[in-house]
Symmetry: C3
Subunit: 324 residues, 3 copies
Amino acid sequence: MSPLNQFDPQGRLRHLITLEGLTPDHILDLLDRAQRHVRPIHERPATGQSLAGLTVANIFTEPSTRTRASFELAARRLGADVLNLEIMLSSRAKGETVLDTIHTLQAMSTDIFVIRDAQPGVCRLVADHVAAHVSVLSAGEAHLSHPTQGLLDALTIRQRKGGFETLTLAIVGDVRHSRVARSAYQVFSALGVGELRIVAPAALMPELGEMPLARRFDSIEAGIAQADVVMMLRIQKERMVQAAIPDADDYFIRWGLTAKRLTLAKKDALVMHPGPMNREVEIASEVADGPQSVIRQQVTNGVAVRMALLETVIAHRTLRQGPV
Amino acid sequence: MSPLNQFDPQGRLRHLITLEGLTPDHILDLLDRAQRHVRPIHERPATGQSLAGLTVANIFTEPSTRTRASFELAARRLGADVLNLEIMLSSRAKGETVLDTIHTLQAMSTDIFVIRDAQPGVCRLVADHVAAHVSVLSAGEAHLSHPTQGLLDALTIRQRKGGFETLTLAIVGDVRHSRVARSAYQVFSALGVGELRIVAPAALMPELGEMPLARRFDSIEAGIAQADVVMMLRIQKERMVQAAIPDADDYFIRWGLTAKRLTLAKKDALVMHPGPMNREVEIASEVADGPQSVIRQQVTNGVAVRMALLETVIAHRTLRQGPV
Amino acid sequence: MSPLNQFDPQGRLRHLITLEGLTPDHILDLLDRAQRHVRPIHERPATGQSLAGLTVANIFTEPSTRTRASFELAARRLGADVLNLEIMLSSRAKGETVLDTIHTLQAMSTDIFVIRDAQPGVCRLVADHVAAHVSVLSAGEAHLSHPTQGLLDALTIRQRKGGFETLTLAIVGDVRHSRVARSAYQVFSALGVGELRIVAPAALMPELGEMPLARRFDSIEAGIAQADVVMMLRIQKERMVQAAIPDADDYFIRWGLTAKRLTLAKKDALVMHPGPMNREVEIASEVADGPQSVIRQQVTNGVAVRMALLETVIAHRTLRQGPV
């Protein structure tokens, strides 16, 4: 497979399937644009008409209320028509191939495909086959990539810390199976974070070749010591077994972010979580709801980042075609 | 638990989870406002932009095509973005708590939560935890409350009868398990209906302390005699067993509203039903479709009442925050 | 049953449940109007506000992502509110009848019902009972009728061939169980196509009395010889058994449209398929994706045809009632 090209011939962002290959400028442009869409939640949200007359197809083959809702609201607040489709792209339901489904929706004038799929490669496959004016945005791909999550994480940190160069950032939990961790690694590597740590039981660490710039820690205490940001990951039951941790209670004892453990990080360290949280498993409620938590701000930023992304890939289209 | 406060510090309606505690003025204001949204169905429905830029999350954990559609149309006809979510608030799907789901949606700038849940207390729990600008509207809560149904019932009666003071109103059927009956009791008690009757087999009567102002009848013939309004309730199979009624045919014989029985009520008595109807079980088709039936008008009024309610709780918000 | 009348007292189209009974003028008016909505897919699609303030209820009781999406986009691009409902009209879920569900939605000011149902007669039943201002559009009814598919097929052929009179059109595959074939037969008979052929294994031919104007062929080679248009139909596994064809591979060998077979048709013959395709079963991929295929254009035309149809039946309404 040739390397994935997410840019159009003029070098403008067209797809977003992975954060790999994005320059700091690309990322910072998206963050700047997203920041303009952030509002306090008690105000009416930012809206616009830059996607009026365009159609966004939200294709979710894994259940994800929150990410689907976030993309849906982002698109609708910019005036787009949104189709919500729960179809199995990676299966051949009724004998139709992935690409037939996509071509059908494209033939109905779908302009942007937002795709979440549990199988690696589906986003890429679609991006390789859609027409030149169509964009593909990943809403989470297998364990590989969740690029809008990486962007919203970066936006959240920049809002609170101003920049990245001097920060120590710890990603804690099931790093091995986490698309959130992979996208975080990519975005923070690109942005030149001071120190990037991955903190996990040995069995939940990624392969040795992966995430080469990260320092590895096999204890949460050491891993979050003096950190500026602690990003907790969601743990699934079946992964505990892999790590020889008998149950959720035990996971919490060994790996949960408690208020006591959090004191090991810097005093003003941020606590993040991509949600949905397993309270009292990977994170204590008093931490999730405490003053250092920016978990809800992450959600708010998620909508803003997705609005910025939709506008960016559509700007590509508008420029390519002249005014429409 | 402290008593539920559905009003903001200035005394304006913010949530609607129960009709208990609403004054006649509150109710009549809502009915007046709703009346302005009622149109003959062959005209284009009333629309507006008072909710433009706002987001309504429709969270239905019990299937209810009609109530969901009614809230959805009400919100969209006022310009709101509507998110339809089928999630189990009362379960801990994926380990996430009710309140995490709500806080996530709130962080995406959801302004109004419309919630139907089979478990008592979920609406209240949510209302106790949302931000000050957010409203919670019940779309039906367990057997306890269905406040917009109570309001649409009152609107329908006022349209046909002009007022409530002189009316005899009979609620017939499974009163014990009915949120419709409880909300009807609350609204008609508040509005000072002349006589309120509950008419049910003994086993389907509410506890003795409940609905203290209602007269109790254990025969439909006596219960609807000279009534101005006959409100039939939906009966479920499993409740017949409780009432020692062997089957639907037998229920119809003993408790069904037939044309013959209806002659016992006043000549111009209204026939109501919250839907969906079990025809030839609790109500004969010739009655449901007959000249005294206002069942379809109830549905039309339902949209108008929900529009009025959405505008009312948003007026609260707009006033609190100044123009937006 | 009296014959279905799809026209209002002034002779204007009100419902579309079957193409039977439509004159060439009716059909050509719809095609002309649809043609005005066709855009290249890289342009913003045609939009308008002719359905603003109106409500379209999309009631699909068979899964059909593509047809539902097509109607939904058509309606929304004309400014309508769209309710998507997945309810079993032909069952009595919760004891409610089909007509109660319809009357409930009508009482909420639904103006147009788009219905797909596996049971014959549901569309007709609904059309017979809705109020005079309401329209019913079939989105596929059992094996009987799929009128918007027939219209989009006609539009596609007219775009490429200019007219119908001199054309030889072959419909190939499971004609017996196909609503697509029946609606094609109706539209092309009405439009006076030169020669209409149905090409199928004997067991998948319609009864002898059906489609009297069509020539019957029991071999694909003879059936598509010198044809101007080859319309392939979707085959279902259970139908192969009926035709004594052991499996999909065997079906492809005997009945699949291969590149080699296609050379029997005219050199510029069009290849059509209603989708979703079973690739390498009824059609070879190289044909489906080849230069003679207009399969994607059919999908694009589908949205345009549905927009034209919605506008047409609403024009009926607007005229009847004066400006609204």
